[in-house]
């Protein structure tokens, strides 16, 4: 049997069906995304599926979706393995795995989609099913987080729907990403950017992210942050064409949104008390960088540009590092970790901060190149400060994780082997990947030069120093409530919708007053039938004689 593109989304569904019959299949779900690796390797031709919705076509046509597919497969597979341990004793594990698999299906489908409709199908499936992951755990916090997530996801869906329809109309009904290079309208672009942005979670569309990540099961946080946020970025990249009047004009605005978001999220994150929330804010910050890349790409629009590679690399880098951190945070909050575990934990964190020899260093280097080539060269110093900020934020996260160890009972034991090994794989990935992927390898040699090394290292060192000083002062803040304005907004929205005043038209005949009159008329006419009738006859004749 030859594997083909259309098998990729079907295999998780098959697993789902099997699991419904034999629940123990859930231990093997980590296998479900793996056939995709074979396809990546093998690279069969893209296919069209006219039987399906309008324009359906699947395949891979650029490095971006190539690497995004890779990262999705890796993350989903490892996270599944991790979750298969963590959810083993969950009462609702069937529900969890169902949503998990649906989400996975959607994610894989959207990455290999070559047409907007298929992308939208996958995207929606993923977004909505992910709700089941966010709101999986019982209690009011997951419920609230889930509600906000869902409200924004649906809003995003609808904006994407509008943008999609507008775009299809603009392109004269063409239904393939490769045909979508015509100019885009302002409205379309804004719809799509906002719609996907709500999923990608960059500032200011990140509202749901810091709420959702802490309450979701660890594995879910990992895929949410690692794979699903990237889907939003991929959407923006696929749907909005570069180098058109609109995008060139939008570029600077978007760039500065990304830039501001990258810093804002750090500040907000530093004020948090929970490791996973801090990590979530770190994701928000990182999404800002991805947005900057896209903005730069919009303004050049060069199909062979290194920005495409950068985007792919940055996605891959952030995905594995952040997933590793989330899993680590999950482990830290439930099991006792030994020092070498902590050592392993710092690796992805440092990678995110741009440690040499890791993916982080490579992408940072690439990024600096790209910025210095563009009109934003002035903001170059900011990037190093950004690196420092990231480092600071991750140190905070690690400290909070460490803190959470105190609440764990002595007999909690060491992490389970399977969970640990899956985490291990991801944690080491930032070092391993540069050796395996050509684009990284190329950068690796450059980053090892002295100037580059110091440029990469000083932010990390400075951050450590600052952290050491500040950790003496305890940061108790009342910012928390304000930062979670999202929760308040979502509740308010719900209230407004339910109490929206809408009139209901009901016609009611009020006959009570009339009834009395009616009764007397009836009585009068039944008693006086004869006189009335005769009188009327006479009157009628008389009046007719007059009238004619």
């Amino acid at each position: 049997m030859m594997l083909d593109w259309w098998h990729i989304p079907l295999i998780p569904l098959l697993f789902w069906l099997l699991m419904m019959r034999w629940p123990s299949v859930s231990n093997w779900i980590w296998l479900a995304p793996l056939p995709g690796l074979f396809l990546l390797w093998h690279g069969p031709a893209n296919i069209e599926l006219p039987m399906l919705w309008p324009g359906a076509a699947l395949g891979i046509d650029s490095p971006v979706n190539h690497y995004f597919l890779l990262l999705s497969i890796v993350l989903w597979s490892i996270a599944s393995l991790f979750a298969s341990v963590k959810q083993r004793n969950d009462v609702h594990r069937l529900r969890f795995w169902s949503f998990w698999l649906w989400s996975m299906t959607g994610n894989l489908l959207l990455v290999i989609a070559l047409d907007p409709a298929s992308f939208y199908v996958g995207f929606t499936l993923m977004s909505l099913a992910a709700y089941g992951l966010v709101a999986h755990q019982p209690g009011p916090l997951p419920r609230q987080a889930g509600r906000l997530y869902l409200q924004l996801a649906v809003l995003g869906e609808m904006l994407i729907y509008a943008g999609l329809i507008l775009r299809v109309h603009e392109t004269g009904g063409l239904l393939s990403f490769s045909d979508w290079q015509q100019p885009i309208g302002w409205l379309t672009a804004v719809c799509l950017l906002t719609g996907f942005g709500l999923k990608a979670g960059f500032w200011p569309l990140h509202l749901w992210l810091p709420l959702a990540h802490p309450v979701a099961p660890t594995a879910a946080s990992a895929v949410l942050s690692g794979a699903m946020l990237k889907a939003g970025i991929l959407g923006i990249w696929q749907f909005i064409p570069a180098d058109t009047p609109t995008t060139v004009a939008l570029g600077p605005v978007v760039f500065f949104i990304g830039l501001f978001g990258a810093f804002y999220a750090v500040v907000a994150g530093l004020l948090q008390q929970q490791a996973k929330t801090v990590l979530a804010f770190s994701s928000v910050s990182q999404m800002g960088y991805l947005l900057m890349i896209i903005a730069m790409f919009w303004m050049t629009g060069d199909a062979t540009s290194s920005l495409i590679i950068l985007l792919a690399m940055y996605g891959l880098h952030h995905a594995v590092a952040k997933a590793a951190l989330f899993m680590g945070a999950g482990l830290a909050s439930s099991r006792r970790l030994s020092p070498w575990h902590w050592g392993l934990m710092t690796l992805p964190a440092l990678a995110l901060a741009g440690l040499p020899l890791t993916t982080g260093a490579s992408v940072k280097y690439l990024f600096k190149d790209a910025v210095s080539d563009s009109m934003f060269a002035l903001s170059l110093p900011l990037l190093s400060i950004g690196s420092m900020a990231t480092a600071l934020l991750l140190i905070r996260a690690l400290l909070l994780m460490k803190q959470s160890q105190q609440n764990i009972s002595k007999n909690a034991g060491a992490p389970e082997a399977v969970a640990l090994s899956s985490w291990l794989v991801l944690s080491l990935a930032p070092i391993v990947i540069p050796l395996m992927v050509d684009e990284f390898r190329h950068q690796l040699t450059q980053t090892m030069q002295l100037q580059a090394l110091t440029g990469l290292l000083w932010p990390i060192i400075l951050a450590t120093v600052i952290a050491a000083i500040v950790s003496r002062l305890s940061l108790k803040t009342s910012f928390k409530a304000k930062l979670f304005a999202g929760r308040w907004l979502s509740l308010r929205l719900r209230y407004c919708l339910i109490h929206f005043p809408v009139p209901e038209w009901v016609i009611r005949l009020k006959l009570d007053g009339w009834r009395k009159v009616e009764r007397s008329i009836n009585k009068f006419s039944s008693v006086g039938t004869l006189p009335i009738t005769i009188g009327l006859t006479f009157l009628m004749m008389l009046s007719w004689t007059m009238l004619f």
Binding site: L52, W53, G146
Partner: protein, 505 residues
């Protein structure tokens, strides 16, 4: 030989439900085996005949039957692509509903009466779909009112009778308006057969006022059944009817009759050309758009499952009207395909609501907590229906929304796109909480502790199989028609065929 069949087939399709219906009336309550046999015989023979006709029409054959009736207006039954879209929908859903109803009403009183009227109702619907001119349409339109009334008041409680009266007040008034409209059109232009492109363009200059009035009358009259804004009030009230009736009313028979009438009126009586001269559709569009939003908001405020579904119908059926009023081919595809898709999704939802009510006596939304554990399959079907209504791909509703949205842009009415967006948001707002309750919320009582609701041994026994299977069947259809929309046998393909014929130059 072939010509004979082409004459008889339309009549046979109507009779295949009418005759069993009449026979069922004469049965005693105790003869339930015979009754079921008759019912199923009717269902399957209808499906067979419809399949035959579908094949014939796709080959370009003409099916027509007529007898003289009024001066200048014969009774005509004919099968064209548009009528078959509706006929096929009603026949397939009749199958599901019949089985469902047999399970639902098992052991209750008045079953002969119920199934008799049920079959009559389907006959009227099919007749209405096959009607070849306005007068024939009117005949079946009124018969439909008559046949559905006993179903609405079936339970005979005070609430049911009240609802029945409200239903009648609306539908009979609507019927009178339609009658007046038809009579007015007859007076102005006679009553020829429906033809693509309409037949009124020759008289449009002479009778501007008359044609305008007739259009307003007809739309208001048809709007009653299609639950357009000022005249939608009967629909939420009619919820007291048994679940299969609500399902049939909302998905196939009544509301669709109204929507189908509007489609016929716009495409085959007035024609796009005439309507754009008269400039009548702008008002209809605004009305439909207002209904979509209004229905959604009202749905949000309901606390009973069936009421919420009812208002959702108010909103969703207007998608069809809106698509028709846009007067563009792509929008028309959207409208026609939504006729089917909304039917599949809404019938699923009503079946589910019926299952909840029948199995666990759950009527209120707040009682739905944790239903997913006790009735996972029904809840899954409910989820499919609800998501489809929101327009979530790849369920059928998305396909309709896709074409409707594109149609709105194509006809230069971009504001309508925002109506769909708003409606989608509201749909989500009123459906998703139900899904949350079903799948995530903690049940008020542990199902295991509930005497009547104890979880059965197998998932497949969560409720009576006759209630479960039709639900799953329609839910599956809703998914399949969405996923395989591009295939040759999908409602979408058929809608494209109709539009190709209607909009042919």
């Amino acid at each position: 030989m072939m010509t004979d069949i082409q004459t008889i087939l339309p009549v046979a399709i109507v009779l295949s439900s009418l005759i069993p219906g009449l026979l069922i009336f004469s049965l005693k309550e105790s003869q339930h085996r015979l009754r079921i046999t008759l019912n199923l015989a009717g269902v399957f023979s209808k499906l067979l005949l419809v399949g035959w006709m579908l094949h014939g029409v796709s080959q370009g054959q003409q099916f027509s039957f007529s007898i003289t009736f009024l001066p200048g207006a014969d009774l005509i039954l004919q099968g064209d692509a548009l009528s078959l879209q509706f006929v096929a929908l009603s026949s397939v859903l009749w199958l599901a509903t019949t089985i469902y109803a047999i399970g639902y009403l098992e052991g209750s009183a008045f079953r002969s009466r119920f199934f008799g009227y049920f079959s009559l109702c389907v006959s009227a619907t099919v007749g209405l779909a096959l009607a070849g001119n306005l007068v024939t349409f009117l005949v079946f339109y009124e018969l439909l009112t008559l046949a559905t009334f006993p179903l609405v008041v079936h339970r005979g409680t005070d609430a049911a009778i009240r609802a029945g009266k409200v239903y009648l007040a609306y539908t009979v008034s609507g019927g009178v308006l339609v009658l007046m409209g038809v009579a007015l059109l007859h007076a102005l232009a006679g009553t020829p057969d429906f033809i693509p492109g309409g037949y009124l363009s020759p008289v449009v200059d002479q009778h501007q006022a008359g044609l305008t009035l007739a259009f307003v009358l007809m739309v208001l009259g048809l709007g009653v059944k299609a639950a357009l804004l000022p005249v939608h009030g009967w629909l939420p009230q009619a919820m007291v009817a048994p679940a299969p009736v609500s399902a049939l009313l909302h998905a196939v028979a009544v509301v669709k009759a109204g929507a189908f009438g509007i489609i016929r009126l716009v495409y085959d009586v007035y024609g796009i050309e005439t309507l754009s001269i008269l400039q009548l559709t702008q008002g209809l569009m605004i009305l439909a758009a207002a209904t979509i939003i209004y229905g959604s908001i009202r749905a949000l405020q309901q606390t009973e499952i069936k009421k919420r579904l009812a208002y959702s119908t108010v909103s969703q059926v207007s998608y069809i009207t809106l698509g028709v009023a846009m007067l563009g081919p792509i929008a028309a595809i959207g409208a026609l395909v939504h006729l089917v898709h909304q039917g599949l999704m809404k019938i699923t939802l009503f079946f589910c609501a019926g299952n909840f009510a029948e199995t666990l006596n759950i009527h209120h939304i707040r009682e739905m907590n944790g239903l997913g554990q006790r009735m996972p399959l029904t809840m899954a079907a409910f989820t499919v229906g609800a998501l489809g209504m929101i327009g979530v791909p790849p369920i059928a509703g998305f396909i309709s929304k896709w074409y409707l949205g594109l149609g709105a842009l194509e006809t230069g009415q971009p504001w309508i796109l925002w109506v769909f967006v708003g409606s989608g948001l509201l749909n989500a707002a009123y459906f998703l909480p139900l899904l949350y309750r079903g799948w995530f919320a903690k049940p008020a009582v542990e199902w295991a502790a509930h005497p009547q609701a104890r979880r059965p041994a197998s998932v497949w026994n969560e409720t009576h199989w006759m209630l479960l299977w039709p639900t799953l069947f329609t839910a599956l259809l809703a998914i399949v028609t969405g996923i395989l929309a591009g295939s040759d046998f999908s409602p979408l393909a058929w809608a494209q065929l109709i539009v190709a014929r209607e909009f042919a130059p």
